[in-house]
């Protein structure tokens, strides 16, 4: 596969907050867009196409909001399309932008989105409506119960504990406190996590993401269209895979992926690694921004990404392996546990990866980060896009 090289040359994030404190949805889009364009040293006239990231719009309350907001993202008169893959949306949108440039249909693409997750009240009310209407809609099922089941299974598979999960939360909040854009910016102790109230066993309040509002954007460019003032972060590999919707199929003697594990993320990562010429991720990856809206997901994601063997993430967390000063810092930004503006959460992973590559991540910078893996996750722990960012453009060996 010899795709045309594509780089991220501009990024923008708003500060992420509670929905009530945030600006209006079009305003968040506009701010993110303008920040990313300014960062790229470009104007809207330099943009050939726009990709809009919007997950379930029932959260922010305007159906097909891509129509209403087309001007807020500078897309009136331009090619624009909208991606919706649940929580994976932000990175599926980046991939869509990548294909525009790699396919030669555009030299520069703006990828942008925003969310106001509590606009309609509790997001879990909306998430109850994602399930199969015949077999699963009658149950009081939410994304919290969805992941709680994965967590309890991971614990059973590997004798993992709630302390393992709590350590993820402690690290996440510590990193988030270094991130001026994060929604939650307060550190927590292990005891605070373990004593926080249960939402769905084994998940407790401090194992869980917030419901955030904010906007995010990135400008992708071909090599030919690079400007000297820009600092490109190269998308050296992309991958995407998904597992069956049916969570009940991910157990039993004939499973493909065990529901306790990271699932199809593994296959997606393999595709991206191959394109980027990475054969030993544990040795070659400098930092990771991975989509984990609940603490146990970070454990099995680390394993699915090939950073460590199955079931070993817990002990490695205990050793500080994934801390900021550890071997492979995981979610230096604080990750999704600190900020979850659903439509763009996976794009924020990508944008944080870009900042790491450039060396401009400030207090959350991983020194010398030249290879960063970023991932998204959506649906019933189902859709997994992965993007590998590198300092220099790389390709398969």
């Amino acid at each position: 596969m010899n795709s045309r090289p594509v780089a991220a040359v501009g990024v923008g994030q708003t500060r992420f907050t509670n929905t009530a404190e945030a600006a209006t949805y079009p305003e968040l889009l506009r701010q993110a867009t303008q920040t990313a364009l300014a960062d790229a040293g470009l104007g809207m006239d330099d943009i050939d196409a726009v990709v809009f990231a919007l997950a379930p719009e029932s959260l922010m309350g305007i159906n097909h909001a891509e129509r209403w907001c087309v001007e807020a993202i500078g897309a009136a008169g331009k090619p624009v399309l909208r991606v919706q893959t649940g929580g994976a949306t932000g990175m599926s949108a980046v991939h869509a932008g990548y294909h525009h440039v790699a396919g030669g249909a555009a030299e520069r693409v703006l990828v942008v989105g925003a969310d106001r997750v509590r606009e309609s009240g509790d997001a879990q009310q909306i998430f109850n409506k994602i399930w199969d209407p015949i077999y699963e809609r009658s149950m009081a099922h939410t994304t919290i119960s969805l992941i709680a089941m994965s967590a309890s299974r991971y614990m059973w598979l590997y004798n993992s504990t709630e302390e393992d999960m709590a350590r993820v939360s402690v690290k996440a909040h510590k990193n988030g406190a270094n991130n001026p854009n994060a929604h939650i910016r307060r550190e927590v102790t292990i005891d605070e996590v373990l004593e926080s109230r249960y939402l769905a066993w084994p998940l407790k309040l401090l194992d869980t993401c917030p419901q955030s509002a904010g906007g995010c954007a990135t400008v992708l460019s071909s090599k030919e269209a690079l400007e000297p003032s820009q600092d490109p972060a190269w998308i050296s590999g992309i991958g995407m895979s998904n597992d069956t919707y049916w969570v009940g199929d991910r157990i039993g003697p004939k499973l493909i992926y065990d529901y306790g594990d990271g699932g199809a993320l593994e296959a997606a990562a393999r595709q991206a690694y191959e394109q980027a010429g990475i054969s030993d991720p544990a040795k070659e990856v400098d930092a990771v921004e991975t989509y984990a809206s609940f603490t146990p997901v970070e454990l099995h994601n680390a394993e699915a990404l090939g950073l460590c063997a199955l079931g070993t993430a817990g002990p490695l967390f205990q050793e500080g392996f994934f801390d900021m000063d550890g071997q492979i810092p995981l979610n230096p930004s604080g990750g999704v546990i600190c900020t979850n503006p659903i439509s763009v959460t996976a794009m924020v992973r990508f944008v944080e990866g870009v900042l790491q590559i450039r060396g401009t991540a400030e207090a959350r910078q991983v020194k010398g980060a030249e290879t960063v893996v970023t991932t998204g996750s959506g649906g019933s722990h189902q859709f997994f896009p992965v993007s590998v960012l590198t300092r220099e453009p790389r390709s398969a060996n």
Binding site: M1, S3, R4, L54, P56, E57, S58, I62, N63, H64, A65, E66, R67, W68, C69, V70, E71, A76, G77, K78, P79, V80, L81, R82, V83, Q84, T85, G86, S92, H95, A96, Y98, H99, H100, V101, A102, G103, G104, A105, F127, K129, I130, D132, P133, I134, I238, G239, M240, S241, N242, D243, T244, Y245, I256, A264, A267, G379, S380, Q382, F383
Partner: protein
């Protein structure tokens, strides 16, 4: 653009009023037919691009449930939620980029299961428009009102468009009845100035298009995508040129440029224009450069866009003979594919076709695709 182009190697679609089957069954059925049409197994497919509208389907993340039936399990899957035409654009780009070689592009919509007007109404601005009953019909009626105020002869031409399309549909064996222009003009007004018969009736349906890089699938029935373009207009109806459709001009120019077409009138042999209303067909014909706004009514009335005319438009009846929400426009690509292959109910005199697809109020999003035999690509 790269030298690589993209072929359509298989296509299938179904339109019906209401079947007692689940949406998943319908998607599975059409996907299976498309794979068979392409002569491939699912294992040969790299990726799925679906286009589903959550609020039409009644599921907050509709692609969670549609991915399996659409053949996307364990593959690369993306859901495009702005328009089914955009899913085609996405599949096209994924192959041009070199990342994927065989991509399914699938869309659907059922008017029978939910409440499409209610879902459309929810796209309205929540502060200024939502308290008013703004939805598809209102928007297309306002567009038609502006059209008929600015241009003479549209009343008669619109009725002629309906008569033409329904006659084409009957000839193609679609389950509709022919209607004369007089009957069109006597049908009840549903939203001034549009009459009931001048508005596309809604049904249920699914469409699946199989895209492949040249050589990725062995077939002698490939149809090439020579070029595509798409663009959006502003949101607010009053801010838009609803007659000139500048964004459709942009989209079609991009498609023609990529296709190496310099003269629409000379180089394009047939047209599938999205007739969500009779006026929409007239306006689209002008915006793509086949004619101009003032001359479009005359072109229709003199028979130039009839099935045996110089520029046949909507050879099997278009949307005016019935279409399904959201995914419906993409089915026109499947129809055009059949014409170029020399299969299906209609024939054309040449192999170069333009398919134009719209979405949103009065076609806020426009997409144009040029299709042809691969030798011409």
């Amino acid at each position: 653009m790269s030298d690589r182009w993209v072929n359509i190697v298989g296509a299938a679609y179904g339109r019906h009023d209401h079947r007692n089957d689940s949406l998943e069954e319908l998607i599975y059925e059409t996907t299976t037919e498309a794979l068979a049409d392409a002569g491939i197994e699912l294992e040969q497919v790299d990726a799925l691009v679906s286009a589903g509208s959550d609020q039409i389907d009644g599921r907050a993340i509709t692609s969670m449930l549609s991915t399996g039936p659409a053949g996307g399990d364990l593959k690369d899957e993306t859901n495009i939620a702005s328009a089914s035409a955009h899913a085609l654009a996405m599949g096209w780009l994924m192959i041009l980029s070199g990342q994927r070689d065989v991509v399914l592009v699938t869309s659907w919509g059922r008017a029978s299961e939910g409440e499409v007007p209610a879902a459309e109404h929810l796209t309205a601005d929540p502060f200024y428009d939502r308290d008013l009953p703004l939805e598809d019909l209102v928007a297309m009626a306002m567009q038609a009102q502006v059209h008929r105020t600015q241009v003479d002869g549209v009343d008669a031409a619109a009725a002629a468009v309906v008569e033409k399309n329904l006659a084409n549909a009957v000839a193609a064996g679609r389950p509709v009845e022919a209607v004369g222009a007089d009957a069109v003009r006597e049908s009840p007004v549903v939203g001034t100035p549009l009459r009931e018969l001048e508005v596309s009736p809604r049904c249920d349906g699914v469409v699946c298009i199989v895209l492949a890089a040249p050589g990725a699938v062995s077939t002698d029935r490939a149809v090439a995508i020579r070029g595509m373009g798409w663009a959006s207009d502003r949101y607010r109806l009053a801010d838009r040129d609803l007659v000139g459709l500048p964004h459709l001009q942009t989209a079609s120019k991009a498609a023609f440029e990529r296709a190496g077409i310099s003269s629409v009138k000379d180089d394009v042999d047939f047209f599938e224009l999205h007739d969500y209303s009779a006026d929409a067909e007239l306006l689209a014909a002008a915006a793509i450069g086949l004619t101009d706004v003032k001359s479009a009514p005359g072109l229709v009335l003199e028979g130039a866009t009839a099935a045996d005319g110089r520029w046949p438009v909507n050879l099997t009846g278009g949307s005016l003979a019935g279409d399904f929400p959201f995914g419906g426009p993409l089915a026109r690509v499947a129809e055009a594919t059949a014409y170029i292959r020399g299969e299906g109910p209609s024939k054309t005199n040449g192999s170069t076709g333009l398919v134009q697809m719209s979405a949103g109020f009065a076609g806020q999003f426009q997409t144009a695709v040029v299709l042809d035999r691969p030798e011409e690509a």
